[in-house]
């Protein structure tokens, strides 16, 4: 094991430690219960926070001693991160987040579909969009009609429901 710290692993360890500290903060913020209980609502949150902090500290120590991820075959074999793919997939998620309110599920998810497909190397954006719209519409009807999930109809869903002669949900 090398003695040079592994910076990525250190970040991962610090993140776990941070989770533990957040846990302590939130556990302390729980108001003391007026109802008598042998074990109050604070005990387990404190235990979990303590556990996470301890594990985070141990992971930080492991990272300072060389870390673990350099020995993983998957990391060792992998090339540099594919920034283009990650950016396109991330853009897809973001676009969906922004459009799902104003336009409704199908159109927002179809835009996401095309961007994610492009991220994974598809070169036919127009075709993906044409494929995505009916797919997302079908999925919407599957969830709303077959599974009975209550999802508000957006622009496209309302239009289709009107064509079918039904009131938009």
């Amino acid at each position: 094991m090398s003695l040079r710290p592994s910076w990525p692993d250190l970040a991962a360890g610090l993140f776990v430690l941070l989770l533990g500290l957040l846990g302590f903060w939130q556990a302390a913020a729980i108001p003391t219960s007026p109802i008598y209980a042998q074990v109050g609502p604070k005990l387990v949150p404190y235990l979990v926070a303590a556990g996470l902090s301890l594990l985070g500290a141990l992971l930080v120590l492991a990272a300072l001693a060389g870390g673990w991820s350099a020995t993983l075959a998957e990391v060792a074999e992998a090339g540099p991160p594919n920034r283009r793919a990650l950016a396109l997939v991330g853009a897809g998620l973001l676009v969906n987040l922004l459009l799902i309110g104003p336009l409704g599920f199908s159109l927002a998810a179809a835009a996401q579909f095309a961007l994610v497909a492009a991220g994974f190397g598809s070169r036919h954006a127009a075709r993906d969009l044409l494929l995505g719209v009916p797919l997302c519409l079908g999925v919407w009807f599957l969830f709303v009609e077959a599974l009975g999930v209550n999802i508000g109809a957006g622009v496209l869903e309302g239009l289709v429901l009107q064509l079918l002669g039904r009131e938009p949900v």
């Binding site: 939130q26 074990v39 996470l52 992971l59 594919n82 990650l86 396109l88 309110g101 598809s122």
Partner: protein
């Protein structure tokens, strides 16, 4: 015999047209998601959870178990034809299976995997039917202290024993436990871990976390590592087993099933260990004239044994889930949350209060096994076609389902933000080799463990020694400690000796 009566009752209900239809639907869906790389049974069942508001508990659980069993069958197809294991249990299958496929023996590899899955699935389900009532009788004597100890054991085995490192596994578990704490404390009504955000008062939704980790995190990680280029699907050929193949497969099936089932039953959850052990056993036990095929042209024993072990372990996982209410895999944890959404508390009382449900479910598992072997052998061509869905559209489609499954919870953009945030954490967990299953298990089992802990301490009037003075809980706590420290002590001892 309780089991025989139960099975008779179960089969009389399972053969109703609706229940057969649910089983069929589950098997089809399960095989499809098992075949598709990137989605597994845990994600599928999480997305199907809304169905619990629509159909009876019996129908829903037959569907879920069909998906669970089906994914085991489908996973082997992908391992063999694509050399890309669909899930952890079929990693070993890919070792020899893909080699056989490359040497033009994909058909026999698929056949021995499917028939082995059938043999093991049947043995495992029989084990469930006969062992279940026995464990229930034992479990009825357990108090909250013993229950808490059992859950601690479960936590330790799923996070610290399996996987690359106890430290990272336990950190994943801790993350799950923390997520499970978010929301209103059921006993006192106090909000906990909500950071003052009103949307978090109801707690973090299990579906959201499962979808975030298994779909969004996975897709982001795949994008991070993405290289252009197509995976090659190897041709299938004829799926007949020759007489030699059959003779060489038979004992590995039986040994694999015998090895897998106990591993599934013990809260040592997971299918990695039994499949690996079965593989090494078969390599040792193979006839000298076949041994050279291991690692070269692909040995059929190395597919038959692990594949049987995988399915028997899957059946075994249902034993602690149905008898004790303890989930030892992510899929079982999601199924447990489905029980909760019906207001059914899984545990020893389930066999009595919901006897009809339990036995119909078990009978349906036998039926599902028959359906699956038919679906997977003659119809293997159909599944191969699914395998040819190009990767860009496949991952884009998975994310469409992830979005609607989460958005459908409460039509809230806050949920989507949370989905993506946990998805990004999931991506980094994959990168840094933190297992994700303990997160889901911790999130669902955590609140149950807290309840047991508080009950036990209320009964003992705050005396913590109750966990060590009651013999049952002391023994289980000892096992948990052994599971945590044992491998390390063993490594130290081995280094000295």
């Amino acid at each position: 015999m309780e089991a025989i009566q139960g099975l008779a009752l179960g089969f009389s209900h399972a053969f109703s047209l609706t229940n057969l239809a649910w089983a069929m639907l589950g098997c089809l869906l399960g095989t499809a998601v098992g075949v598709l790389p990137g989605i597994g049974p845990a994600l599928t069942i999480a997305l199907l959870l809304p169905i619990t508001f629509q159909v009876s508990a019996t129908g829903a659980f037959i569907l879920f178990c069909g998906v669970f069993y089906g994914a085991m069958y489908g996973g082997s197809t992908t391992s063999i034809l694509l050399n890309a294991p669909g899930e952890s249990g079929s990693i070993i299958t890919a070792l020899e299976g893909a080699r056989m496929a490359r040497n033009g023996r994909a058909g026999p590899a698929l056949a021995t995997a499917a028939i082995g899955s059938f043999v093991a699935g049947t043995v495992g389900t029989l084990g469930l039917a006969f062992l279940g009532p026995v464990i229930v009788d034992l479990a009825l004597a357990l108090g909250p202290a013993e229950y808490f100890a059992l859950m601690v054991l479960c936590f330790v085995t799923v996070s610290a024993v399996l996987g690359g490192s106890a430290l990272r596994g336990l950190a994943s578990l801790g993350f799950g436990l923390a997520l499970g704490l978010v929301g209103i404390d059921l006993q006192t009504g106090q909000p906990r871990m909500t950071f003052g955000v009103p949307e978090l008062l109801d707690g973090v939704n299990v579906v959201l976390v499962a979808v975030a980790l298994f779909a969004v995190g996975e897709a982001l990680h795949m994008a991070w590592r993405h290289r252009d280029g197509k995976a090659e699907v190897l041709p299938v050929g004829s799926v007949m087993l020759s007489r030699t193949d059959l003779r060489r497969s038979f004992w590995p099936w039986i040994r694999g099933a015998g090895l897998g089932f106990p591993f599934g039953v013990m809260p040592a959850g997971g299918t990695e260990m039994p499949t690996m052990l079965s593989y090494y056993a078969e390599r040792k036990l193979a006839k000298p004239e076949h041994r050279h095929e291991f690692g070269t042209t692909g040995a059929i024993e190395g597919v038959a044994g692990p594949e049987a072990a995988n399915n028997a372990a899957a059946a075994g996982i249902l034993v602690p889930m149905l008898t004790l209410g303890l989930p030892t895999s992510a899929t079982a944890a999601i199924m447990l949350s489905a029980f909760q959404s019906y207001g059914i508390q899984p545990g020893p009382l389930l066999f009595q209060s919901q006897g009809e449900l339990v036995w119909t479910l078990i009978a349906s598992l036998f039926i599902a096994n028959v359906m699956l072997v038919v679906l997977n052998l003659p119809l293997v061509g159909l599944w191969v076609r699914i395998l040819k869905i190009p990767q860009p559209q496949l991952y884009a489609g998975i994310l469409v389902f992830a979005t609607i499954g989460t958005y459908g919870i409460s039509n809230s953009v806050v949920d989507l933000i949370l989905l993506y945030a946990i998805g990004i954490i999931g991506m980094f967990m994959r990168r840094f080799d933190f297992p994700v299953a303990p997160v889901v298990i911790g999130m669902i089992l955590g609140p149950m463990a807290e309840q047991a802990l508080r009950q036990a301490l209320t009964i003992s009037e705050g005396d913590w020694s109750v966990f060590l003075t009651r013999p049952g809980s002391a023994a289980i706590m000892g096992l948990a400690l052994l599971a945590l420290a044992g491998p390390r002590l063993w490594a130290l001892w081995a280094r000295r000796g």
